[in-house]
Homo-oligomer: 216 residues x 2
């Protein structure tokens, strides 16, 4: 492990989060933590389980899963170094995600890194922390995402984008490639490759290789 | 949707399951359910949240997440059509996974499909349902997995294997490619491709393309 690599992670949940946006990155971090001890806080507005099914107007027959938070946004520990913000249908509900927006805005100055997956970058944009930065998002929701951050330099053709201490990924599965790049950057290429082998994952190491945005 | 495609799914959880083994496939099924109404039962020995961290001898600093079950193995609904069995460190604990083994053995005759990811095939092998069938598993744990099913025709070089109504995948992320193949088989290629595009996932459509087992 490189000196000074982060060890305290948090994930910002809300009703209607996308499961793979969260568990793609977290599964790699779970494996990382077997050799590099980490801490993980799972944040929500309350300590009740948080479902991937949006609370408002759920589609009949839409299935989902519920995850147990460890802390509320109000009582979140102050030593968070890396905050992960997923996307999902819930991001389309401004009222529902306002506590996440507020938490990003208030915690960002103390964070070492902010990571978003999919439409999580729309939530971060609303917090103002992406203003003047390069960022990307889900390709099918890109125009809507851009409307959430008119002062952000949105980059459509990207698997993920790093701008300083902010990493944003494209839709859903792109978060997996981003977290491997983040792990390589923070803990070394060898460890990232080892976790990918354990996961039998053929990771994309080129952030500009985006098969889903059409011609560059 | 093709006539007769399954709609009732269950996932068999146990302490120390691998997060991505579960949420890779389930995220694709979640998206599928937005256009094709599904049911999902999340099974465990009790209704308490189930952690990805093994109960026995957890590594200090090992992080994890907890998922809320909907039913116990004892009270599982009788209309399950597809059972998904993940792998993970918990599969190394025979006592812990015995309820899963028992449930697979008792429910298999009524199932339409059994799907396993990673070392989930070792659990299915212990239930005897893989005897005489082709199956695969995690590459790094392959020899141990084989010891759990001496009468199984284990296939090392495979991303996933279908033998009749049993689908088994290689380690962790291979479950994602397998579920897309299963969705294509059951609900049509077009829908599988559409879900992969929504997920921005470049799926492998060749079950024999296994970059992690060494030369074929």
């Amino acid at each position: 492990m490189l000196s000074g690599s982060p060890t305290k992670y948090a994930v910002a949940l809300f009703s209607g989060f996308q499961a793979l946006d969260v568990f793609g990155p977290l599964d790699a971090l779970n494996i990382l933590s077997a050799s590099t001890p980490l801490g993980l806080y799972i944040l929500s507005t309350t300590l009740s389980p948080v479902s991937t099914i949006p609370v408002k107007d759920p589609i009949p027959g839409f299935i989902g899963q519920s995850v147990v938070p460890t802390h509320t946004y109000q009582d979140a520990p102050s030593d968070i170094e890396v905050l992960l913000v997923p996307g999902g249908q819930g991001t389309r509900d401004p009222e529902l995600t306002q506590p996440v927006v507020d938490f990003i805005a208030s915690s960002f100055p103390k964070l070492r890194y902010l990571l978003t997956v999919c439409t999580g970058s729309a939530v971060a944009a609303r917090a103002g922390v992406l203003d003047g930065r390069n960022a990307t998002s889900n390709k099918l929701a890109f125009d809507w995402v851009m409307s959430n951050g008119p002062n952000v330099n949105w980059i459509r053709h990207a698997r993920w984008v790093q701008d300083g201490n902010i990493w944003t990924s494209s839709g859903v599965s792109a978060g997996i490639d981003m977290i491997y790049a983040f792990i390589a950057d923070q803990y070394g290429q060898e460890l990232a490759d080892s976790i990918a082998t354990i996961s039998e994952y053929s990771r994309s190491t080129d952030p500009t290789n985006d098969p889903f945005s059409g011609p560059a």
